[in-house]
Symmetry: C2
Subunit: 164 residues, 2 copies
DNA sequence: CCTTAACTTCACAAATTTCTGAAGGAAGCG
DNA sequence: CGCTTCCTTCAGAAATTTGTGAAGTTAAGG
């Protein structure tokens, strides 16, 4: 028999990790990055080493490496070198990843570029051109408003969780 | 030599369609749905038949069928039966697709469920539990705020484009 | 400076996804 | 009521993606 209400029972943690990762996968995140991210989110310190990730998720060092590269690229995790060691720690910063979520910005920007080009090439005075122009307008509106939304969140958060 | 500034020059249209579709693909949309959607967006009436789509994109009827099913499922296009014909028209409604974009709701809901479960199973008083709880809080906040954002867009839009 | 630990890169095998051609319905039209 | 048109479904070929083992790179520690 295990302890009554085991804290950090590996199986309980694993169940959450896999379940949450599955949701991310369904939203379009590649499997390995999703699992690594979920594992970090469920860790006590918010950091794990490559070795810990590999062991916990039963994946090769290569898979960890690939997943972390992906996550770092989209700013969902940061990498830290432990001073005086070859070990690296990967960390999920709450603030950081909220921002990343709304930072589809780069993507939106390219959508906007493509739309602008479309308006020009199809003609701003054609029905199709007008449709594209309005769509472009929508994105520009959203983009601007999302910034405000994040501001409101930070305010709300500080009040509730007590600032920095 | 073709006309000076040809309206709806197929090649010009095609260039936009493929370029915009490529951006969607990069954002995670499957290729065929992306191309079909872009083609509809660039059409003058905002509607195309299955045959027109197949010809314009050089894809089989089966591919059109699959793409449309996908797009309809995520509410990016609607299907209309031409009365007295076996032909179907597929349409992109501007309003409709803006809403769909922000309607990651179903997905977010499941994320929230998974997070709630995590808070409970890992313990609300553990560091990991607290992290999950704050994340959950963020999503709940956003979800609520996005509704407001869409409201502001509709207001802005009516003013600019002159209402329904 | 040599050894060794830790991560990364690369080539390939396996699994998954994507698109097609062909066969199978539904619905207008005679 | 049968013919025809248009769409869908399905099995499978082709392409893409994913994860691994093995070799390579960097830097700590003796």
């Amino acid at each position: 028999m295990t302890e009554p209400t085991t804290r950090r029972d590996p199986e309980t943690v694993s169940r959450f990790v896999e379940h949450f990762a599955a949701q991310l996968v369904e939203a379009g995140v590649p499997r390995m990055p999703a699992r690594v991210f979920a594992a970090l989110l469920a860790s006590d310190t918010g950091t794990l080493t490559s070795a810990e990730l590999g062991e916990q998720l039963r994946i090769s060092p290569a898979a960890v490496s690939g997943a972390v590269r992906y996550l770092a690229q989209v700013h969902l995790v940061s990498r830290e070198r432990e001073p005086g060691s070859r070990r690296e720690r990967y960390r999920v910063h709450s603030d950081q990843w909220y921002e990343a979520l709304t930072n589809r910005e780069a993507i939106i920007k390219r959508w906007e570029d493509a739309l602008r080009e479309g308006v020009t090439s199809l003609g701003a005075d054609t029905p199709a051109g007008r449709r594209l122009a309005e769509t472009l307008d929508f994105f520009e509106f959203i983009e601007q408003d999302v910034a405000g939304m994040m501001g409101r969140w930070r305010t709300y958060r500080e009040q509730k969780y007590g600032g920095a």
